[in-house]
């Protein structure tokens, strides 16, 4: 297992190099000129040229890539072209809201969705099943921003229980953190409940039809034990996969939710950087997101082994 993990980590290196090269080239090929953005409306061609020179944008692509790559190896992601802020500190500032939202959403979603999916499978074809599925379809179908605005209208504007927007660090003020993270969490949870409940139900239905479940029931095991210990554990692989990918999706940025609740997360950082052609920031964020995807996939694979001892990695 250890050698498998080591091999996976090593295999991530060429993936990251490819991602870095791809992102770098894609940005250089896309239209837009950071120098023109900085210079504004009245810059002369000479001034533009001087800014390009200073930013190193006139160097051959290979030189630019090598320079960036060399700095990356030293843990230096560069600075924002526009504000001069180090990319690492920009990403670090934006990670806390994003990770907080991802954790609260995933935990709340699992707590609600897995039991819902199990019950729906267990009560397959009954009204309970249909209600759970209807809720799932609704969660999938209603756009996130609609749910967000409805929640804001009810809980923030009408009832005045919660604030409309913003983020406070849990380390600064846990109470305000809880207030501010509640509505965005509920918004995203509506989507993730739908996702996880559906996959739980489908996976459970498949497992409940297996011989070993019939055997477990035949030997007189309590239904709860049959469902939770035998069926759910054997259904866990696809559920864990969906949860893992869902987590990675939030970590790489949920722009709409972040915008509506004014959460300064990774999603908004990415969109702002793309619109402003802030190359170092875009490159940094995409590299980080890729790294997280690789890491989360590795964790998912490890979880498979824990959940299903039949799975072995050579």
């Amino acid at each position: 297992m250890l050698s498998y993990i080591l091999r996976r980590v090593l295999a991530a290196i060429p993936v990251m190099i490819f991602v870095a090269l791809f992102v770098f080239l894609l940005l250089r090929l896309s239209p837009g000129d950071p120098a023109a953005i900085i210079a504004g409306d009245t810059a002369t061609p000479e001034q533009l040229e001087q800014i390009r020179e200073r930013l190193g944008l006139n160097d051959p692509l290979l030189v630019q890539f090598a320079d960036w790559g060399w700095r990356l190896l030293q843990g230096d992601f560069g600075e924002s072209i526009l504000s001069g802020t180090p990319v690492t500190s920009m990403i670090a500032d934006r990670m806390e809201p994003t990770i907080s939202l991802a954790l609260t959403t995933i935990v709340l979603s699992i707590v609600i969705a897995v039991p819902l999916g199990v019950i729906a499978a267990w009560k397959h074809g009954t009204i309970i099943d249909r209600v759970v599925m209807a809720i799932s379809v609704l969660g999938f179908s209603v756009p996130v921003f609609v749910i967000a605005y409805v929640l804001i209208q009810v809980f923030a504007i009408n009832l005045k229980w919660l604030p409309v927007q913003g983020f406070t660090s849990i380390f600064d003020d846990p109470g305000t953190f809880a207030q501010r993270i509640t509505l965005p969490t509920l918004t995203l949870t509506s989507l993730y409940i739908a996702l996880i409940a559906r996959i739980t139900r489908t996976s459970m239905l498949e497992t409940l039809g297996e011989d070993f479940v019939r055997t477990a029931r035949a030997k007189g095991l309590a239904e709860r034990r049959v469902l939770m210990k035998h069926a759910l554990r054997n259904s866990a692989v696809p559920i864990v996969t969906v949860i893992g990918i869902g987590f990675a999706l939030i970590i790489s940025g949920v722009v709409v939710t972040e915008s509506v609740f004014n959460l300064p997360g990774i999603g908004r950082l990415t969109v702002d950087a793309v619109l402003a052609r802030d190359y170092p920031v875009i490159q940094g964020v995409i590299l980080l997101a890729s790294l997280l995807y690789v890491g989360i996939n590795l964790l998912i694979d490890i979880a498979y082994v824990i959940l299903d001892p039949r799975i072995r990695y050579a």
Partner: protein, 539 residues
């Protein structure tokens, strides 16, 4: 089976109780939430502050930031009079060549150093490398001297009527004064620190680009005694702290101001104003009465707009009413205005503007097009879809042009792609362009020198589109040297007539953008930019 239900039921109950307790707790905390500090002004600006150096960019957010942190030698009041700000006063020699400016007492930078004449000279020189009016001024200056720490002597090579107008310029780029050690930074590179002598200090540690910028009152700032008027007069800071919070979503900003989470919103979209107008204790007010103008600009280097008749046909095909209706909608916030140097200014005139002020004369446009060299090649109009204030004009123009007989290729892109592409002088077939639209704050176009669109320097030194029209440059030079206001007006009128006759660009209307603020704050000043001195906040 029932056993399972019973057990899960029992287990679920504590969870439900926990969840309910959490929700109730969160709600209770919200109700008991600490009220916003009376001394912190929470503001949502029109955009995010990105570039901190207000000299290297013309971005309005950088200009607004500049007004917080830096101060100016002179400033305009609301009647467009030039008033001393950091200066105590100035004298001009009889031959009009030597300007002697004296600094007032008590000027300090945020690092504690006194402001000296050397700082002023270094700052103005750096500004003069970047700003259009500044470049023109620099070409007229023979020497700079600082006989003592408080005196700046500027000697001109020949009389130049716009020296004071230039250094009192209210909008981008504003000639802000910074320490000489920072002003020595090349003008293509941002200054490494935000140290000014303005009424607010920039809190670098709390700056998060795209999230917020924070300013604290500069306790040692000595305001002038005169009452504030635009950027002139006493800049008395009445709050401890100002936070510019970025909100990407207008609906969120509206909810936030309605719930009192923010105090001031610089630019609510026009379509949300009817909702805001129903909110009690919310003031909706236009602080920049001069407002902005929106324009269409041709590319003069390539067909078909290298042909005057085609440009005239395009100009006649459009009318301001359609653009303003589509873009602003509410007539309270727009004016049909043919004045290239803005309506409401001393240089206002509508000479030559009939083509854009009257409703379409399609027959005339079609006739001109038929007489022209236009061969039916589609016009490439750049359409920035990500900027609310710029996405409407190209659509209205495209329809007007089609009605007049043009073929149109409306190319959607983001604004930054447009910014990069409009700098290209390449032919249309090589990713060139025929037309784009933009907006200008009035203070950036209110005289022939500031207004880039009447620059006739061509592809070397002209503004995007690059008309090569030496006559326009002669008129601009004459304006710069004019000795009296009457003479300036006369020349500005001639230049406007020339610019319309030669279709240098299409002025498409003048509009204002109201700001909104809650009943907790008082003392918001009118101005060419949002100012945060003089504002007090109560609970």
């Amino acid at each position: 089976m029932f056993d399972f239900l019973a057990k899960t039921g029992r287990r679920a109950a504590p969870r439900r109780r926990t969840a309910a307790a959490l929700l109730a707790g969160a709600a209770a905390t919200a109700l008991l939430a600490t009220p916003l500090s009376a001394q912190t002004l929470k503001v949502v600006m029109h955009s995010s502050l990105r570039v901190l150096d207000p000299i290297i960019t013309t971005a309005y957010m950088s200009r607004n930031h500049g007004y917080m942190v830096f101060d100016t030698l002179f400033a305009l009041d609301e009647e467009y009079n030039i008033k001393p700000q950091m200066a105590e006063g100035y004298t001009v020699s009889d031959d009009g060549l030597t300007y002697t400016i004296t600094l007032r007492d008590g000027l300090l930078f945020h690092d504690g150093a006194p402001v000296t004449a050397t700082d002023v000279i270094a700052s103005l020189k750096r500004w003069g490398e970047r700003d259009g009016m500044g470049q023109k001024l620099m070409s007229q200056i023979a020497s700079w001297d600082a006989p003592d720490d408080k005196t700046v002597v500027i000697t001109l090579s020949e009389p130049y009527g716009l020296l004071m107008d230039s250094i009192a310029k209210p909008s981008s780029n504003v000639p802000f004064i910074m320490p000489a050690r920072l002003a020595e930074t090349p003008s293509t590179e941002g200054v490494p620190e935000q140290i000014g002598s303005g009424p607010f200090k920039f809190v670098q540690d709390e700056f998060q680009p795209g999230v917020k910028a924070v300013y604290e009152k500069f306790e040692e700032y000595v305001p002038r005694d005169e009452p504030p008027s635009w950027a002139s007069g006493g800049k008395v800071v009445k709050v401890d702290r100002v936070e510019w919070i970025v909100m990407a979503d207008a609906q969120t900003a509206m909810n936030a101001i309605m719930s009192g989470e923010i105090d001031y919103w610089e630019a609510p979209p026009y379509d949300l104003l009817p909702v805001l107008e129903t909110v009690p204790d919310l003031t909706i007010h236009v602080i920049n009465k001069m407002g902005s103008t929106t324009i269409g600009r041709y590319n003069f280097l390539h067909p078909p707009f290298d042909d005057l008749k085609v440009r005239q046909a395009a100009m006649i095909a459009m009318n301001q009413q359609d653009v303003m209706d589509a873009m602003i909608g509410n007539p309270d916030y727009y004016t049909i205005c043919g004045a290239m140097f803005m309506c409401g200014t001393p240089l206002e005139t509508e000479v030559g503007a009939e083509g854009v002020m009257e409703k379409d004369d399609l027959d005339k446009a079609k006739a001109l097009l038929a007489e022209s060299s236009y061969d039916g090649t589609p016009l490439v109009i750049m359409h920035p879809t990500d900027v609310g204030s710029l996405r409407t004009q190209p659509v209205v123009a495209a329809q007007a042009f089609r009605d007049a007989g043009f073929n149109v290729d409306l190319q959607a892109m983001d604004w930054q792609t447009l910014v990069g592409r409009r700098a290209s002088q390449a032919p249309i077939s090589e990713n060139g362009w025929n037309m784009f639209f933009t907006t200008w704050v009035g203070a950036d176009v209110f005289n022939p020198i500031a207004n880039n669109m009447v620059n006739g320097k061509g592809s070397d030194g002209g503004w995007f589109g690059w008309p090569d029209m030496p006559e326009a440059e002669e008129l601009r030079d004459a304006y710069a040297k004019a000795a009296t206001v009457e003479e300036q007006k006369e020349i500005a009128e001639k230049l406007q007539a020339f610019a319309y006759e030669n279709a240098m660009y299409i002025p498409l209307g003048q509009f204002t953008a109201p700001a909104a603020w809650t009943g907790k704050i008082e003392g918001v000043l009118d101005g060419p930019a949002p100012f945060f001195w003089n504002i007090s906040k109560s609970e």
